[in-house]
């Protein structure tokens, strides 16, 4: 079979990819910010001993950790509007799914971080007259956050990759644009390879930085 | 007497750091040699070069009068599979035992015989039980290492090495990681081995063991052999300032009158 290599179209259409990448970056920025801040709140609630705080938080985490994110996105796109009467745009549906999913995953990371702190730190806080909230935010959290930083960056990388799922509900992002170019120009090899490379080029340095960060933190711990 | 192990101007470098600066050592069959020296003197490295856990940077190791490795244009090449067979003949016991935690005591001792020597199950089991008897632990055959005391672990490690029928045994600070009250049982086992005529090279800080058991004591300092002689003479009348200081550091040890 004769295949006409066509990389020219890819370069000529760089604006199409760039437009898609902007969509990816927007989706990533929104979901990672809301997801990780929301996750912090859920994670702390999960740590509290009060059943009215811990149980709803636990239920939330279990639901969104134990269902596929694609199911969540589709549910928010097709089912949620019927339930609430609120129309969800592709962006809103995907952002909701990815954000809630990220909240659930990062909540568990924060919780593990808080739990990893030595009990003596809580006692030391108490001993100098701090209340629970003061000890949590001034003594425990600074150390816990530093400890979970690598896990959070890893989660961030997953969130970035997850943004491609928004294409399933026709949100305009990088993969969606690649599909568009492939369909218009009949050059699937070039266009899909290009999108894979774009993700690799963006994420590879971040992954390497995460490894470096892990090493630095490990050394600091010793 | 026949010579069993000999090293010839053995050098070992780790990057810039020269740990061994030309060691000439000869050990005869049945001899017990103790290597003394402060940490960083190169004694452990010397031991690890004899069974090629570390490859010497230059110089040669002879076993039964035959040089290990093949020399081409002044460079000695070591063939890994040949080194494996060398290691079966040169047993080694470590400071931290290095027993296999997922195997019982018996399986630990059988492992090398089965996998490396390809002995059949019955033979290697019989052999293992014999070695366990030698170190006085037959009743622990079915236990996992995590259930043993440090002293017992080390005796199992000795049995594991003995089961390979080595010509010479290397002991690398085998009592350093033990609680003081457990040191005795391991030294007793080693002494018994020496009495049975096993050829042994021991790195240790137990001066009492050196004094009573060793045929010869070597004092290593900064990668060279500084003093050498029989223990009675060398431990009582050290010639060098360095060795005097070293012995003073072990002042807890009282030489018998």
């Amino acid at each position: 079979m004769e295949y006409n290599w066509d990389f020219a179209t890819i370069f000529l259409n760089w604006r199409v990819y760039w437009f898609g990448l902007q969509g990816t970056l927007l989706m990533f920025a929104v979901t990672v910010t809301l997801g990780m801040f929301g996750g912090l709140i859920i994670g702390v609630l999960r740590y509290l001993k009060h059943p009215l705080a811990a149980w709803p938080a636990r239920t939330f985490v279990e639901i969104f950790r134990n269902t596929p994110v694609l199911v969540q996105i589709i549910w928010f796109y097709y089912a949620f509007p019927i339930l609430t009467g609120i129309e969800t745009s592709p962006f809103l549906a995907a952002a909701l799914g990815i954000t809630l999913n990220t909240m659930a995953f990062s909540a568990e990371i924060y919780r593990a971080g808080i739990q990893s702190i030595d009990k003596g730190q809580w006692e030391a806080g108490k001993a100098i007259g701090m209340n629970f909230r003061q000890t949590l935010w001034r003594i425990i959290m600074p150390v816990a956050l530093k400890r979970v930083l690598p896990a959070l960056t890893n989660r961030g990388i997953e969130v970035f990759k997850m943004s491609t799922l928004a294409s399933v509900v026709a949100y305009v992002e990088t993969l969606n644009q690649a599909k568009l170019i492939a369909d218009l120009n009949y050059n699937p090899i070039e266009s899909y390879t290009a999108v894979a490379l774009i993700f690799f080029v963006v994420l590879f340095p971040i992954v390497q930085a995460t490894y470096a960060l892990e090493r630095v933190l490990k050394r600091g711990d010793e | 007497m026949t010579e069993l192990v000999r090293t010839e101007s053995l050098h070992k470098q780790f990057g810039e750091l020269e740990v061994l600066k030309g060691i000439d050592l000869s050990v005869e069959a049945g001899e017990t040699v103790v290597l003394l020296g402060s940490s960083g003197s190169g004694k452990s490295t010397l031991l690890r070069c004899i069974n090629f856990m570390e490859l010497p940077t230059s110089g040669k190791v002879y076993l039964h009068g035959k040089a290990v490795g093949t020399e081409t244009k002044g460079q000695i090449k070591y063939n890994e599979s040949h080194l494996c067979s060398v290691r079966t003949k040169v047993g080694m016991v470590f400071q931290h035992f290095n027993l296999f935690p997922h195997m019982t005591v018996l399986q630990n001792i059988m492992e090398g015989q089965r996998t490396v020597l390809k002995r059949n199950a019955a033979d290697s089991k019989e052999k293992s039980m014999l070695q366990l008897e030698r170190v006085g632990l037959t009743d622990k055959a079915g236990e996992y290492p995590s259930r043993l005391s440090g002293g017992q672990k080390q005796r199992v490690a000795i049995a594991r090495a003995l089961a390979m029928d080595p010509d010479v045994m290397l002991f690398d600070e085998v009592t350093s990681a033990l609680d003081p009250e457990l040191v005795g049982e391991v030294l007793k086992t080693m002494r018994q081995l020496a009495d049975e005529g096993m050829t042994m090279i021991c790195v240790t800080h137990e001066l009492g063991f050196a004094y009573h058991v060793a045929n010869r004591v070597l004092f290593l300092n900064d990668g060279t052999i500084l003093e050498e002689g029989n223990p009675q003479q060398i431990l009582r009348k050290p010639e060098t300032q360095r060795m005097c200081e070293f012995l003073e550091g072990h002042s807890l040890f009282k030489l018998p009158d």
Binding site: M1, N66, T193, A196, F200 | R87, T88, F97, T115
Partner: protein, 224 residues
């Protein structure tokens, strides 16, 4: 708005058929992905530089590109490039085997590296070769520590298989789309499907938590 689950429940057999396909893809991808992951981990740990760098590149590439992009690449680009026929089913198996093997490789690697150096030395001292040490001494200990991470990754894989619906393989997600369209009851259908996924994945993750706890109690370390 009124809930009406009858259309969804009437088609439950179709949904369950999709579930079987979901499990089939997950299972087969694990069968290929785990051995492939071990192979890549060993290549990456190899002292032969070109091999270890190649393995590192493949692992990093498949870890940093989105699985949906990989799936599309194998479905649309791969068949033309190599002139082979790729059904949605084979595409799914190929993609998810390779994708998960990259993650399994890292689990294997951290498992192997978590074993104390003394174990290698102990094995070498009784004359074992590198291969014998790895097979008889290191891997049996490492694999035990890796079980929780393995299970976690397998659960991730199960969730990722929903992507095959986008290339029209009839997994649970695809069947859900199909029935939602036909019955005009997306709310109930997608809710039921979400519930099926939830029960399945929740059970698996509870199981992995139990195993991890039991291992922690027996003093066995784990790696992630």
């Amino acid at each position: 708005m009124e809930w009406d689950f009858t259309p969804a429940l009437n088609n439950i057999d179709i949904l369950l058929l999709g579930l079987v396909n979901t499990l089939k893809i997950t299972g087969l991808s694990l069968c290929f992905g785990i051995p492939l992951g071990l192979l890549m981990a060993l290549s990456r740990l190899s002292e032969f530089r070109p091999l270890s760098m190649l393995a590192a590149f493949i692992i990093e590439f498949f870890r940093t590109t989105p699985p949906l992009v990989q799936l599309f690449w194998f479905f649309f680009a791969f068949p033309i490039l190599f002139n082979v026929n790729m059904t949605p089913f084979t595409t799914a198996i190929v993609t998810f085997s390779i994708q998960s093997s990259a993650f399994f490789a890292e689990i294997f690697r951290s498992g192997i590296q978590s074993i104390d150096r003394g174990q290698w030395e102990g094995a070498r001292a009784i004359g074992m070769t590198r291969n014998q040490s790895l097979r008889r001494i290191i891997l049996p200990q490492a694999v035990k520590r890796m079980i929780p991470a393995f299970m976690e990754r397998s659960i991730e894989l199960l969730k990722t298989t929903t992507l095959v619906s986008t290339i029209a393989y009839t997994d649970l997600m695809y069947q859900a789309n199909d029935i939602a369209q036909k019955t005009f009851r997306p709310l109930e259908v997608y809710t039921v499907v979400a519930l099926i996924y939830f029960v399945l994945i929740f059970c698996f993750s509870q199981l992995s938590i139990v195993i991890e706890r039991r291992m922690a109690r027996s003093g066995e370390g784990t790696v992630h």
